[in-house]
């Protein structure tokens, strides 16, 4: 059992086994962080010992949660998120220096609205990724939210969910395919003006006029650069399908690591 490996006294471990779902009081921040970590890593509920007790009604833990992974470019931004989490007995936070996880009790399909609501209450530049899962599957939701956050972190600050970055997510999870895409996009990445043109075109949702304005170049210059992108990659940026491929290739080429705390 991981708790024993962490060197906690046996009495603590036994208390956890006997009362696995008892929520520590709101003031006991450390215990609540530990609980959040165990839930997110799946170590709390993975044992067969607990599955029999997982009847959904036990001591304070909700049946299902919205898992929000968040990060900010500054420590103040991250602290603002932790502070904005409702001071509710059911909300659990596992915070780190510049990012963390928030667990909010949540019914299915309500998670995106919850995350948006939280995001709206924060002034700083913050990226959030939200996934929903029943209590026994929070480790999967955490992994999904963390990967979605990695993809969103390369874009504008905001709330991201799996469906808005589906293609990038799938490719990120398939390294063999990611490698092929990286090879495809390499010649564009090596030429700064082309890379900028493609990025602007993607950021403006395929609107050439807006992309040219964003780069402060003439529209025909942009068109020329996009044609060069096509010649180098075989993908035509004006086709939705092929633009998606190019966009995913850029994600595969450089997906940042995000500063999330360890959960295990």
């Amino acid at each position: 059992m991981t708790t024993v490996a962490e060197g906690r006294p046996l009495t603590d471990v036994l208390r956890d086994i006997l009362r696995p779902y008892a929520l520590p009081p709101v003031e006991d921040v450390q215990a609540r962080r530990r609980l959040a970590g165990s839930l997110l890593s799946g170590s709390l509920l993975s044992g067969s010992l607990f599955s029999g007790q997982d009847n959904g009604s036990s001591g304070g833990l909700a049946l299902a949660y919205a898992v929000i992974a968040y990060c900010s470019s500054t420590e103040d931004g991250a602290a603002e998120v932790a502070a904005a989490v409702p001071d509710h007995e059911d909300a659990l936070v596992l915070d780190g220096d510049r990012g963390g996880y928030v667990l909010l009790p949540c019914a299915q399909d309500g998670h995106v609205a919850l995350a948006r609501d939280l995001h709206d209450r924060i002034g700083a530049e913050v990226w959030m990724a939200v996934a929903w899962a029943p209590r026994h599957d929070l480790a999967t939701a955490r992994a999904t939210a963390a990967d979605v956050l990695r993809i969103g972190y390369g874009r504008a600050p905001g709330v991201y969910e799996l469906r808005t970055v589906l293609a990038d997510f799938a490719v990120l999870r398939q390294p063999r395919i990611a490698e092929r895409l990286v090879r495809t996009i390499q010649p564009v990445v090596a030429r700064r003006p082309l890379l900028d043109a493609l990025r602007a075109f993607i950021a403006e949702d395929g609107n050439r006029t807006a992309a040219a304005r964003r780069l402060d170049i003439h529209r025909s210059t942009l068109d020329h650069r996009l044609r060069l992108v096509e010649r180098l990659t075989g993908c035509r940026p004006t086709s939705p399908r092929e633009l998606l491929t190019l966009s995913v290739a850029l994600t595969a080429h450089s997906t940042p690591q995000v500063p999330l705390p360890r959960t295990g």
Binding site: V112, T140, T144, E161, L162, R163, T164, L166, A167, F169, A170, V171, R173, Q174, I177, R180, L181, T184, I202, D205, G206, G234, T238, S239, P240, R241, L243, L244, T245, S247, V248
Partner: protein, 305 residues
């Protein structure tokens, strides 16, 4: 294995000689029959002298019979030569056994360093094999996959030529691997072919690059499940599905899609707004539009498969 070589040759070659005698097209049939018989005789490990003797007597007997019926002597001679050449080529390479061995991952000595595996859909494998054989070496496996002992970059233009030559609805999918890892290439072409079929892509030559995103989604359970959830509310509405597909075909250009659908601009705007309400993805955003198209295609794949 014991069998009557003379009888086999007579039975297999008779239709070819008959076609040649009456001035019909016999070339494709000759290539196929010669290859089939040649590999069968090679598998039976017959001595070459016996094969040659049987070929000579079969040719003499069949030519004689056709000439008696007033057949075209020149065409009969050409057919006899083509059959003999094709049979002996197949007899000496024994290539069918090689193809199956390489596909199973146990490439024997004498195999090429790497192979491009080709899957065939929409055309008789015999015709495709013959078209490739005219352009170089091709091995045919019992599973219907073809093996070209060349790199994918060389195989691609060959495949496009073959597709163009055969015309009609033919799908070829290709993947290259070193000889020892050909089973992976086979799995890849089968996967690509399955996706191309279910996504309703037009006839042509495909490789994994053409369905990379779909393949990644198919292999990632979380993404696959999410895609199913995204598209589920849309599938009940045929009009919205048709609108999304038309917009993709128009490269996201609403003015073009409107003409194709014979609807008013404000109608399409309303429909696209509905799609966004139902799926959470905005068809006005090209990337979301592409994801919606894939979701529709893959849901059809699921329904069919």
């Amino acid at each position: 294995m014991l069998f009557d070589v003379g009888h086999l040759l007579h039975e297999e070659f008779l239709p070819v000689y008959r076609a040649a005698a009456t001035g019909g097209g016999w070339e494709d049939a000759a290539e196929t029959a010669a290859h089939r018989v040649g590999t069968r005789l090679a598998a039976a490990k017959l001595p070459v002298a016996r094969v040659v003797a049987a070929l000579r007597s079969a040719d003499r007997a069949l030519t004689g019979a056709m000439l008696d019926d007033g057949g075209d002597a020149r065409a009969l001679a050409a057919a006899g030569t083509a059959l003999t050449a094709g049979l002996m080529a197949a007899f000496f390479t024994g290539e069918d056994g090689l193809a199956d061995a390489v596909l199973a991952g146990s490439a024997p000595g004498g195999a090429a360093a790497s192979y491009t595996v080709v899957s065939v859909r929409g055309a008789a494998v015999d015709k495709v094999v013959n078209a490739f054989r005219r352009r170089g070496t091709v091995l045919r496996s019992s599973s219907g996959h073809l093996l070209l002992p060349v790199a994918e970059v060389v195989a691609l233009p060959l495949c496009r030529e073959v597709c163009a030559e055969l015309g009609g609805e033919v799908w070829l999918c290709v993947a290259e691997r070193p000889a020892a890892r050909v089973p992976l290439a086979r799995r890849e072409v089968d996967e690509v072919d399955g996706l191309v079929a279910s996504l309703g892509r037009p006839p042509g030559v495909y490789r994994i690059d053409d369905v990379l995103f779909e393949s990644a989604v198919a292999q990632t359970p979380e993404a696959r499940d999410e895609l199913t959830r995204v598209v589920a509310p849309l599938l009940g509405n045929a009009v919205l599905v048709e609108t999304v597909l038309a917009l993709i075909e128009a490269d996201g250009n609403r003015a073009v899609a409107v003409k194709k659908l014979f609807i008013h601009r404000s109608t399409i705007d309303y429909r696209l707004w509905q799609v966004e309400q139902l799926t959470g993805l905005s068809p006005v955003n090209p990337r979301d539009l592409a994801v919606l198209g894939t979701a529709i295609g893959m849901s059809r794949a699921g329904a069919r498969g």
